[in-house]
Subunit: 450 residues, 2 copies
């Protein structure tokens, strides 16, 4: 049901340069969703992109423009006449404009701001001043604000006249003369009630809101928890300064998940996507943790050094070492991943520590016993050596317990110290577990081998 178009189709139509062809292209292009148009325009040459963009209807132009990659946007701005630029910018929301300008060179920013109206310029400048991770940085300033005494019918009239440039129409914010937020009323409530009641009669006074400097992830989580469609952002004096809409909240949630995946894989998190990040930047993001973890492995080496006598007497101990470390690492990262994720979605809290610890301890006993049994039998069959089987089986039990308990303690400790629990995920944990498992292994081996 949804129309699509390819970059080749557009390029060919433009190259053929025939009037009917361009007319057909115009019609076809404007039936495609702006998000898809943007993706296709990104693939065209600068010249083709400008021609294709000029075929877009006024409605589609701004929507397409904000969805394009920054490079394409910049090239378009450079190609636009002053008039075209003004027209496109008039339909862009303040938050999208701020996102766009953040990464543009100064001369482009200057040209863009000179072509926007003063109110918009002030809004964008304000948005650009909030720290990157704050609620202020993802909010928009285009909302519907009503007075307490406004009647429902007047509210609808106001919306009919001014609503076109408001990003979210469906939640209206009631403010007092000092701009303090005192209530929220939805279009739903207004549609379902009589037209002559003042909004103060039907507005909700217990309002879920965030402050400009609150973490944007916390704001996004409120959407998840309370099923919101928009969230007001207030300043320290309770004055309404903007709203966050649910599409932006979804973006924040997805970005935060991506960031958590990166941190848990020992990568310094990056805002840009995989392809947008250069080879050098990728290397720079990956090296710090690799170096730290590589040098942490020295401790494991030191323990192995100490037990040289054990493994030169019984070289098979070395062959079984990776299996024990890997199992320890896997057990630990299972637990740490569940705990980190549980804390990220607010299911596991710091006060639950003992509950988690006790649960993991019991799980570790079951898992450890199963793995010990399976591996003990296999060693007996493979090496016909009951002492070796005993060493491996008992090491496994202790390693599993130790790694699962560390897997729950380390992330929660990080949280208690106000650090990010995600850094305690598999990579760092594996290194810590490695030291333990090698030590447990050789200690047990020396005892059982005398």
């Amino acid at each position: 049901m949804i129309s699509k178009i390819t970059a080749e189709e557009i390029a060919e139509n433009i190259r053929s340069n025939n009037v009917q062809g361009l007319k057909d292209l115009k019609e076809k292009l404007n039936r495609v969703n702006p998000v898809d148009i943007a993706q296709v325009l990104d693939e065209l040459t600068d010249e083709q992109r400008l021609i294709a963009f000029r075929l877009l209807s006024k409605d589609n132009a701004a929507d397409t423009f904000v969805e394009m990659e920054q490079d394409s946007q910049q090239k378009l701005i450079e190609g636009f006449t002053d008039n075209e630029l003004k027209q496109v910018l008039a339909d862009v929301y303040a938050d999208d404009m701020a996102d766009m300008l953040e990464e543009m060179p100064a001369n482009v920013v200057e040209r863009v701001l000179s072509k926007t109206d003063p109110q918009m310029r002030a809004d964008v400048n304000q948005l650009l001043q909030y720290p990157e991770d704050s609620a202020g940085a993802v909010m928009t300033t285009e909302y519907v604000s009503l007075k307490e005494a406004t009647k429902v019918s007047d509210a609808f009239n106001w919306i009919r006249k001014n609503g076109d440039d408001r990003k979210d129409l469906y939640t209206c914010y009631v403010t007092d003369p000092q701009k303090k937020l005192i209530g929220v009323v939805t279009v739903r409530d207004m549609l379902l009630c009589k037209k002559d009641v003042p909004v103060s009669d039907i507005m909700e006074r217990d309002i879920i809101s965030v402050r400009t400097l609150d973490d944007k992830e916390d704001a996004a989580k409120l959407f998840d928890r309370y099923d919101l469609s928009a969230l007001p952002v207030i300043d320290n004096e309770q004055r309404l300064v903007g709203i966050i809409t649910s599409d932006d909240a979804i973006d924040v949630l997805q970005d935060e998940n991506t960031e958590d995946f990166q941190k848990m894989a020992a990568i310094v998190p990056q805002e840009d996507t995989y392809f947008e990040t250069s080879v050098w930047q990728h290397a720079k993001n990956r090296l710090p943790w690799l170096l730290i973890l590589m040098f942490s492995s020295i401790f494991t080496g030191m323990i192995i050094d100490k037990y040289e006598a054990a493994f030169t007497t019984m070289p098979v101990l070395v062959a079984l070492m990776p299996m024990l470390s890997d199992t320890g690492g896997n057990c630990g990262s299972q637990t740490s991943t569940l705990v980190i994720r549980g804390m990220a979605v607010d299911e596991i809290k710091l006060k639950d520590f003992l509950r988690v610890f006790w649960k993991e301890f019991r799980i570790a006993i079951i898992v450890g016993a199963c793995l010990a049994l399976a591996n003990g039998v296999r060693i007996l069959i493979q090496y016909h050596n009951p002492v070796l089987a005993m060493i491996i089986a008992s090491t496994l039990v202790f390693v599993v317990i130790a790694s699962k308990l560390m897997g729950c303690c380390l992330p929660m400790l990080a949280k208690a110290l106000h650090m990010d629990p995600a850094i305690m995920a598999s990579p760092l944990l594996t290194t810590v577990v490695d030291v333990c498992s090698v030590w447990i292994y050789f200690s047990i081996a020396t005892v059982l081998m005398n």
Copy 2:
């Protein structure tokens, strides 16, 4: 600004059993958001919960009820009179009802269904029949549907009369006499245009939709891509059967992210939360991969066995082994995590394989060179042994390249084979990388040591 209440406060008020106290509690409770009320009620005893629930206003009762844990819901249903049950159920949406009934015992389901009206019963029965992961299973059947010829003013009148029990009011669906979906019109568009135009004049005809059996994750991703607030679900004959709302899409996205985290940590994914899952179930979810990975480590052991002569001649080789495997594992999981996440958010596609491969190759050269240099110098200083430094440095370069390339190939291979790329994350990759790194290590060592 938002009111909160604690379980202790409620319990104390109920225990004191004084009329004014209960009145105050009633007022206070009804100012709290239903999501928060539900969480607090979950903590009360069965008896207290029923008393507190009866204090809720009609508006809050259903909203609170659907947010509670299944155990509490069941206990409440058992405590309700037939009349109470009927009243609460009248305000529950079909999708929430289906979610709730899915996990309830048969006798409770029967009692609930007998107290709902026939239309709702039919809807719920239909929803329960869709496979768990399908779009049909997360949609709701309460939407606003209009005819082509309906005028905007009539649409508003219809909404005013019937809108109260529609989950989403803001997107209206235009259907033909066969119930085929032919257009979508938003309340926004209707508010901003004249009242006497038919909706067919302003409706959007290029509609983004999914089919009932499409994957619910794909449906949720459309919200992310197109910034939707609701998404229509159609059957094979293009007939509209329901809609998915953005709050449910956020839930699906968060659940899918959690599932990916679990898979990437070698856990069989579970629908229930950490605390809801029993110790036995946790152990059962974790054991399969641990066993597979443990036995895969046998290959690493076999390679080590083969090179016994090398490490008994030069035991320090053993001490450095964990450092090399860990570094390989970490390098590989950095790449595989980025690739898996990139594919999950649709940035990396199968056709990008060569692009990713070439990028990772260049990153690996830089990262490998840096790590080799850092570690070579450290070995020289620590052991005064240039041959050992050479062995370690050159092993590191090869291990980093091999692991980064495997980290991009394996997930993309899984995708190409229509398997879930997430299973190729760190745990399985680490085991594969282990085999390689040990083999590279001892091959280089034997050559350089002659």
